[in-house]
Symmetry: C2
Subunit: 397 residues, 2 copies
Amino acid sequence: MGVALPRKEFFEIPEGVIYLDGNSLGVLPRGAAERAGQVITQEWGNQLIRAWNDAGWMALPQIVGDSIAALLGAPKGSIATGDTLSIKVYQALAAALKMRPERKVILSDNGNFPSDLYMAQGLIGTLAQGYELRTPAPEDVLEAITDDVAAVMLTQVDYRTGRMHDMDSITRRAHAVGAVMIWDLAHSAGAVEVDLAACNAEFAVGCSYKYLNGGPGAPAFIYVRPDIVDGIEPALSGWLGHEAPFAMDLDYRPAMATERMRVGTPPILQLAVLQEALKVWDGVDMCELRAASVALSDLFIQEVEARCPQLRLASPRNASERGSQVSFAFEHGYAAMQTIIDRGVIGDFRAPNVMRFGFTPLYLDHDDVMAAAQIIQEVLTEELWRDPKYQVRAAVT
Amino acid sequence: MGVALPRKEFFEIPEGVIYLDGNSLGVLPRGAAERAGQVITQEWGNQLIRAWNDAGWMALPQIVGDSIAALLGAPKGSIATGDTLSIKVYQALAAALKMRPERKVILSDNGNFPSDLYMAQGLIGTLAQGYELRTPAPEDVLEAITDDVAAVMLTQVDYRTGRMHDMDSITRRAHAVGAVMIWDLAHSAGAVEVDLAACNAEFAVGCSYKYLNGGPGAPAFIYVRPDIVDGIEPALSGWLGHEAPFAMDLDYRPAMATERMRVGTPPILQLAVLQEALKVWDGVDMCELRAASVALSDLFIQEVEARCPQLRLASPRNASERGSQVSFAFEHGYAAMQTIIDRGVIGDFRAPNVMRFGFTPLYLDHDDVMAAAQIIQEVLTEELWRDPKYQVRAAVT
């Protein structure tokens, strides 16, 4: 038995807000501001350069990595943190292609987050060796994993629809044809049950500002399967991934294990805030969290469909095929979402017509879902989104 | 005429500390902690996802880039910020090699910061196309720039000795043989006068936690010469370098100008603190700052040499060949530096025997240099470093 959910007392949630956008940017954990203040004033301000050792800055990326590993069924030392998710995708993909030099195909799908595809395209253009990126529809991925594929690179939970790939069967298929498997867990970490050790994928990457509540631009992470990591030649071979960074050798020698996936000087402020945010997970049982997520999501679908016939469910109805978000398609989705946000229910919008709602059992409960459904009903039934002020579009993440 | 220097009132410097390590990690600017608190509590905490637009987070990398550009003689819009310096080195180098596909040589020098060399080695290993990294001694670089060189990649100011390359003559030589020029300004930005527009180099990169006082792990920057930037194909083609990140296209199209060198979601906390730190530069004349730096450095050399015959100057004596640091070689340098630090004068040590002292005219004056020289003299004359507690080595950045 884990601790009781939700744990609203661990977060600073603005009065009057029901936040259904934790799949994009998680809320502020209590203690984060204080921790940042301490790092800035005490450690940076007073200890200055000495803080790299005395305040433990140098070890922070690995300590934070171990906390994330615990949520993903990964052993200690198998996850390195830092950089952005796009950079970590590049690291994983470059390493995977090196492992299968005779193959020239990267397989992803057209539901993957675009930046993952862009990074693959950038790598392909840089290598200039005839590599090819294939992006079938998500439902066609399994049969597209053929024996010419070097690496399969997929995001487990679709950012737009919440559709969830089966990590185990896809990884098994990839391995059956001799391909390397890379999972992007951006919408999985802290949201669904993941067991990296059991899945047996070679690489996983993810970000920490969504369900892990690390704050805007929080560091990314990369997992490398322990039995292969010592053979990895990092493409982004920075000094903090060196066996002895302060020996100042002229030649790169990779550090032990996943440490080699570190690159440059770590973002200490962001890491410290993330470390503080991860304390919220102490005692949380991921199986119970997932059950709570499914209950909230199912309730939301049921209530919104009953109240708003204008909306069409864009997520899988079956919870086992869905991550921790629910999306509805609506022609006037952008304006409708602005209208709903203005009334205190914060979700977001993704082109061309998707209204997204994320469910975070750490700080949402049954009453929140019911209240949100009520507000959405009002906006849709009364067509409040027709107000011209909601028609102006701006970029949102 | 710029504002008067130093501007100690802009910084929080611990009582009793003379900080001669601003070349490694700059001191805490007053206002940084408050700004971080505001970003965390008000923007993240209250505005949540809306802060990407409403608090200007999305534009922050470019705004901060423009502030840095102003210190480097670079036009607005020519500098992108984010990631780490190692990543920015990789971006510049990959782009440079693409510009000279028929050449296979990267020229650097053996005084370059190791991570720059490591990133070049990682890129070469990834490309697997027979590239070669040459690292002659710094004094031999000019004649090593031959017409088989694709890219010349150098750090202007040597991290160990402070020796300074002549950017203009080396860039001219590189261009004369048809090579692309990349300058690493890690120890230059905020320390010496740099005129990127006049220098005409294609790329420059740097970090912001040294003389720019951006804090531990503050974001890096990359400059691309405006007339070539639209032809650059980024190797690290992340979504925030896309022409329309929120169109969520499946294919990468580079953003306008230097925006294409952005990669992933920016580290907002670190960027906000850096933006606050850069306010200190309002009204500072870089020519006057450089004159103050030379005066402090020359005074330090004169005083330390007069007082400590045990130390051998490891930096150029001629100020025009030196950045804003002074290094002394000493067999017992590590222990001596720990002893000096213990007495409130903070410099640092670099293997094998270099004691480094950085001079930052924003927060150091004549009296600081005299007091530091006095303490160094005591430690050296009385051999206080022989105390066993100073013999234990630990890693420092």
